[in-house]
Symmetry: C2
Subunit: 256 residues, 2 copies
Amino acid sequence: MIPPDDRGLTLGDGLFETVLAQAGQLVDWQAHLHRMAAGCEVLGLPAAEPQEAERLAREALAAAGLDQARAAVRLTLTAGSGGRGLDRPDPVRSRMFAIAAPAPAPLGPARLITAKVRRNADSPASRLKALAYLDNVLARQEARAAGADEAVMVNTRGELACAAAANLFWIRDGRIETPDLACGVLAGVMRARVLAAAAALGEPVAKVRATEAALEAAQAVFLTNSLIGLRPVAAWNGRSFGPSALVDRLAALVAA
Amino acid sequence: MIPPDDRGLTLGDGLFETVLAQAGQLVDWQAHLHRMAAGCEVLGLPAAEPQEAERLAREALAAAGLDQARAAVRLTLTAGSGGRGLDRPDPVRSRMFAIAAPAPAPLGPARLITAKVRRNADSPASRLKALAYLDNVLARQEARAAGADEAVMVNTRGELACAAAANLFWIRDGRIETPDLACGVLAGVMRARVLAAAAALGEPVAKVRATEAALEAAQAVFLTNSLIGLRPVAAWNGRSFGPSALVDRLAALVAA
């Protein structure tokens, strides 16, 4: 249980990672820890102690009876208990905890809409897996209200950024493209796997600043995150996309 | 204590109010409750039950031994425990709790800098007192690092919005101005008091969309929130402001 003055709870002051576990193996664990450490540096928080993070993750799996299952481990690091107001206490004593749940069942191709809520291109938090995730919750809510599965988030400069809970890729004129991190994009662990797999196929991914015109011109679109792997997109704002052999090859290469 | 799967903690999915209490009197309590209810409507959350909110606030004051003191009560409402992922459970069972702390001591005139982190003009959350407050924490951090007390936040369209934990006003050519709510501004309870007091003085406040040029041309600048009341600004980005008789009159009128 978490005290009510925890700054993660009161202010969104902290970070998280969502990690796939398979029969007790924490997939891409080092990459997740590395990203959390980089996020702590941006926020000015003491980094997670790696052994402690792994102990918490394993305890959460065991406590949920999921240490032999396909599971999602969420590791959360907050700025700890903080007294009153925006200023952090000195020194900050960060708090870390983990919870585990069954991994989501494999999903069919996604139907997307573009959300009205936009990603803040002028905040470092938009490139982090920060606890202040309300814009993403609202974007997903818009998608559900429209009968879609997921939302495309455009940033405040009008550039494509990501989905509410996934990175975004598309294929245009035979070239794979994804938004540059500068567009307010999380450096997804599965995004990195796709970049490596595409390079290995001789089809390097271009990191671009693009508007929605890129999706209008796309032959295929797909989403990635650590839990879903690579998920093809069936439709975006009512426009349909067919199957793609290249997307299928990438999906097979990045599957955990 | 709060369970680790609370959506306020995991996603910033919730709202808060910070209320001044004086010898057990909750100042502007109805205005705070009304604002929280309006925020719940925007976020699609069940509204707080008013009697329960008041009970929690009074219990927090008593538990802290502050029911006869000048105190800050923070009332928090979250989307409750939510399972995994962005989608809320159906139905949502919101969670509410309150904590109390001594009110901050009166502060001298503030020294401001403009933060690099900007307020998201394209998210409804920027007009709410939402738990996803990390941008404000980062803005305050920038101010402290620069030796200042508070940060001016410009929105992603380049318009003046607010301070990290206060509303912003200035006097330019003898006219009192404040950013329009459409600039990504919280409808502050003390902001409303100032609007009413200024109108009563025959000096109505203009709600404007303005860039930092407005502060460059200002004769006086001040901040407001429920705990500090009205706080004059001594300096912004190194530019100094002298005392203002009109600001002093407003401060006396809005003091609780």
